[in-house]
């Protein structure tokens, strides 16, 4: 069902955990299947220095969380914001059709975390 890449990220997910005192936090719930994902950012000089996630969800949800954190780490906020659901799925060599919605979780959570950071900066 899942590609080796998905299974690899599911088995050894990168960047699991929380950041104490994060620069930004994004949380999304998937209304269709009820899963939840949380992303924590540490931003310095507009660059994502550190990123962590916590996910309650299926294999695809965990793998996409892991992948999106890996993709975002070290990028500028503008670059990170460009990461699309599709790009995450592609980096995992694809997801089964019925699991495409899980990849939305990851990219959306990242965007929300960046938004949260920007909002905090604006104040």
């Amino acid at each position: 069902m899942y590609t080796d890449k998905v299974m690899e990220h599911f088995t050894n997910p990168r960047n699991v955990g929380e950041i104490t005192d994060p620069s930004g936090v994004g949380e999304v719930g998937n209304p269709t299947c009820g899963d939840i994902m949380k992303i924590f950012l540490k931003v310095e000089d507009n660059i994502i220095k550190d990123i962590k996630f916590k996910t309650f969800g299926c294999g695809a949800a965990i793998a996409t969380s892991s992948m999106v954190t890996e993709m975002a780490k070290g990028k500028t906020l503008d670059e990170a914001e460009q990461i699309s659901n599709k790009a995450v799925a592609e980096m995992l060599d694809g997801l089964p059709p019925q699991k495409m919605h899980c990849s939305n979780l990851a990219a959306d959570a990242l965007k929300k975390a960046i938004e949260d950071y920007k909002k905090k900066q604006a104040v």
């Binding site: 269709t32 299947c33 996910t55 309650f56 969800g57 299926c58 695809a60 949800a61 919605h101 899980c102």
Partner: protein, 386 residues
Amino acid sequence: MRRVYFDHSATTPVHPAVAEEMYRYVNKTFGNPSSVHFFGREARKAVEEAREKVARAIGSRPEEVIFTSGGTESDLMAIKGVAYANCNKGNHIITSSVEHHAVLDNCKALEKEGFAVTVLPVDADGMVSPDSVAAAITDKTILITIMHANNEVGTIQPIHEIGRLAREKGILFHTDAVQSFGKIPVNVDELLVDFVSISGHKIYGPKGIGALYIRKGVRWLPISLGGGQERKRRPGTENVPGIAALGKAAEIAMETMADEAARLTLLRDRIIKEVMENYSNVRLNGHPTKRLPNHVNFAFEFIEGEALLLSLDLQGVAASSGSACTSGSLEPSHVLLAMGIPPEIAHGSLRITLGKDNNEEDVSYFLEVLPAIIDRLRAMSPLYHK
């Protein structure tokens, strides 16, 4: 890697003696039972012998058993067959909220066609109360369809009590015994049922074969049309190897049922005891005692079922879950929801269903690999706080 198959409610391996019986009718005795010649007569004999074996296993007469392509078709035939045959008498059907989709979806389809369907609730253990059945019966009720044992949580329903109600009122009564048959006694006269669905691949027989018991003299119409096979009740060239195999599987199940039930109950109870003792935030789904001897279902809070299954699979343990993410339907199990389990907890359900090749070592192995998996997934979960 050690492989432990703990998913016998999904399907079972074929018993070697059943496979052998099947091969005979694949390799040698390949005739069409409708043919008058030698090859045909041999095949006919196999079909009728298998019918006797299945009949013996459920305490019916052979001519009350017809062969189908599986539990799903048996359910369809029973439900629609009764509905269409009795629609001049009434239009009301009673079922429960924990039935298999093969029952529920046909009831829903009939509802669209103008039948009225009462879907009875269950209690927290997944049990239908006979009182609720009694209260639902109207003078328009033509069919009650309540499963014998639930596939997801293992709860065994009070079929005999419901059967008594049905019989008093002269209402036809179908039970889906796909999960119970071969594990606990299924006797049509003790259960007081008029229709029983069974399926081969749940009792160490092959996939694609099942049977439907139809009590002699009841009002029922065939759904499948075509040739004259199964006395026009289920046309199509008979699946002779499948039928012979189902007969053999039923025979073996009857011989081994009592001992296996005792043996598996011990394994089951060991799993239940150790898991309930060693984890916090876990519950046993289904009735604590009125459950199938081989059946365990837990809900691990803060964990999603598919992730749990994949993790177990990586350790060689095959199990299943009622989580939305595994079902493709994006909704957690309707059974767990009907039992009042909140969706986020239903999500973390784990079904362990034991079978003939499982032993103490399998259980030990499972209990050994489980903690690290639960810890890892909980540590990853945004819902979990130690």
